[in-house]
């Protein structure tokens, strides 16, 4: 008797039925039944929500994290990851079979045929070499090696190169000597010259990956390749993707947050990324081709713009050039701004970026 709530309930439902009919039909009865059913059966435990999928791979010498959501996400992530691997296979000077490695091996002897992708990347890097007055120089490799920034981070030897070594290296550094022939072949005129596309390869790969994600139908994604970030759409909850900017002077802290517009990219170059420390002094891996020494005008620079590829090139260039010259370079770029942090912690911004920097709660 108690289990079905008693005879009173049966009577009540009969009464309900009648009054409901009087009140206006079976609809109200149905609503009542629905209400009771809802109450008694309880609510669903989980709601199907767009949960983002995360993929993490090691490529281009760094950790690449791609986050995407939507029904196509799984497949799209595979394709995007492949883009990174493909760029590494073709353009990393450390991959033995890459086109860049071949170009470097053939320096001073033979021209090398390269793929359109490599041509595109090289072309943009050379162009920004011009625009930056040589601050970005893809042939800076010998200087990097002189400072010990070879391939594997663990093998870096922390010692200062001698003036003679730097002289020797500087003689091999000049992006203007790179020959890109009409038939698309690339030639380095002197043995010992070497290309390093590291300053732009990540940005290029990120743009390729983003294009792949969009083509696959992904509406929202976030790519981070070693600090080179690009967002597609928004987070699953509709809010924009939020990117923290690392404080160059305080290693574990984020100094500001910036909310991304659809397709916006954020790229940072800093003196804390790769460096050697000798006698308590830090030497960054980004060498100023003009002096042969690591650039030391800024602690970090972050470029915010619509193209990760361009932003990547700009971040290296501006890091070497310093804020003022860098700002001039940026003024020719549409929709691209920066925030630079000096060695003593001063924050400098261009355009409206200052207003967009959010404080960390």
């Amino acid at each position: 008797m108690l289990r079905d709530k008693g005879p009173g309930f049966a009577r009540a439902s009969r009464v309900w039925g009648l009054s409901a009919l009087r009140a206006g039909g079976r609809v109200s009865l149905l609503l009542l039944a629905l209400a009771v059913a809802l109450a008694v059966t309880g609510c669903a435990d989980s709601v199907v929500v767009a949960t983002p999928l995360k993929r993490e791979i090691y490529a281009l010498g760094t950790i690449v994290t791609i986050t995407a959501y939507g029904p196509e996400a799984e497949r799209a992530l595979d394709l995007a990851a492949n883009e990174f691997r493909s760029v590494e296979r073709t353009m990393s000077r450390f991959a033995p079979d890459s086109e860049v490695a071949e170009i470097n091996r053939q320096a001073g002897s033979r021209e090398v045929e390269v793929s359109p992708a490599t041509l595109e990347v090289l072309g943009l890097a050379l162009r920004y070499g011009d625009l930056s007055g040589g601050a970005l120089d893809v042939t800076v490799t010998p200087l990097m090696e002189a400072w010990g920034f070879g391939g594997d981070e663990h093998e870096e030897v922390a010692r200062l190169p001698s003036e003679a070594e730097l002289e020797e290296a500087r003689a091999l550094v000049d992006y203007r000597r790179v020959e890109v022939r009409a038939d698309g072949k690339v030639f380095l005129p002197e043995a010992g010259m070497a290309l390093d596309l590291g300053a732009v390869a990540k940005g290029y790969a990120v743009e390729r990956a983003a294009a792949t994600l969009r083509e696959a139908g992904v509406r929202g994604a976030l790519i981070n390749a070693g600090g080179t970030v690009k967002g597609i759409g928004n987070r699953p909850d509709g809010r924009p993707w939020r990117v923290g900017l690392q404080d160059p002077l305080r290693p574990e802290e984020v100094m500001n947050i910036i909310s991304l517009a659809d397709g916006e990219a954020v790229v940072t170059s800093g003196d804390y990324q790769r460096f050697i420390e000798v006698d308590g002094r830090r030497y960054s891996h980004i060498i100023d081709p003009a002096t042969g020494y690591p650039a030391e005008r800024l602690a970090s620079v972050t470029i915010v713009g619509g193209d990760a590829f361009v932003a990547d090139a700009l971040s290296t260039a501006v890091f070497v050039m310093g804020f003022e010259d860098g700002a001039r370079l940026l003024s020719a770029e549409r929709g691209t701004e920066m925030v630079a942090v000096t060695k003593d912690g001063q924050k400098l911004t261009t355009g409206g970026l200052g207003a967009r920097l959010e404080t960390v709660p």
Partner: protein
């Protein structure tokens, strides 16, 4: 207090204890903290209709105290919880009768009582647990469960109150 009233109240209290014990000895059909059938509310309703809020409160107090002594949970958690629910329900029903008695029949009062009963128990449970989040989670469920149990006990009370000769001069609007 005249002897008829005393006798009647005592009997109601006794019936309340019996119903409480009956309910306590049965497996709980609804697995929610604080959700009960509230059979004892039948008795409280009758007390409210016959004698008003104050006496109904006495009945409830007596019922909770004595049944907890029998069960062995006197001053234990179960005691406080049932007291919270019981007093809340009694007050709600008594006040409901006083203010809305001309509009509500016993059934409506019972729904109010069941709701107040469950709310009171849930409130105390939240205090015991030490977290307000419990309220969020269980509130809709408890409110909903209160409706059928309120209707049920109300209809039973109504049937009892309307038995010819049972209440004569004492019942009424």
């Amino acid at each position: 207090m005249d002897s008829t009233r005393l006798a009647r109240l005592s009997m109601l209290a006794a019936m309340g204890i019996a119903l409480h014990l009956l309910e306590a000895s049965l497996p709980n059909p609804v697995p929610l903290p604080g959700a009960k059938l509230g059979l004892a509310n039948i008795v409280v309703l009758i007390a409210v209709v016959w004698y008003g809020t104050r006496d109904a409160l006495k009945v409830t107090l007596a019922r909770c105290l004595l049944s907890s002594l029998v069960i062995g949970s006197f001053l234990g958690l179960a005691f406080w919880i049932s007291l919270a629910g019981g007093l809340g329900a009694t007050l709600a029903m008594g006040l409901g009768r006083r203010w809305l008695g001309s509009h509500l029949s016993v059934v409506g009062l019972s729904v109010i009582g069941a709701t107040a009963h469950n709310l009171g128990q849930l409130g105390l449970a939240a205090v015991v647990i030490g977290s307000g989040a419990v309220l969020w989670y269980y509130l809709p469920l408890l409110l909903a469960v209160g409706v059928p149990s309120g209707l049920a006990t109300g209809l039973v009370a109504k049937a009892l109150l309307e038995r010819p000769g049972a209440t004569a001069a004492e019942s009424g609007p």
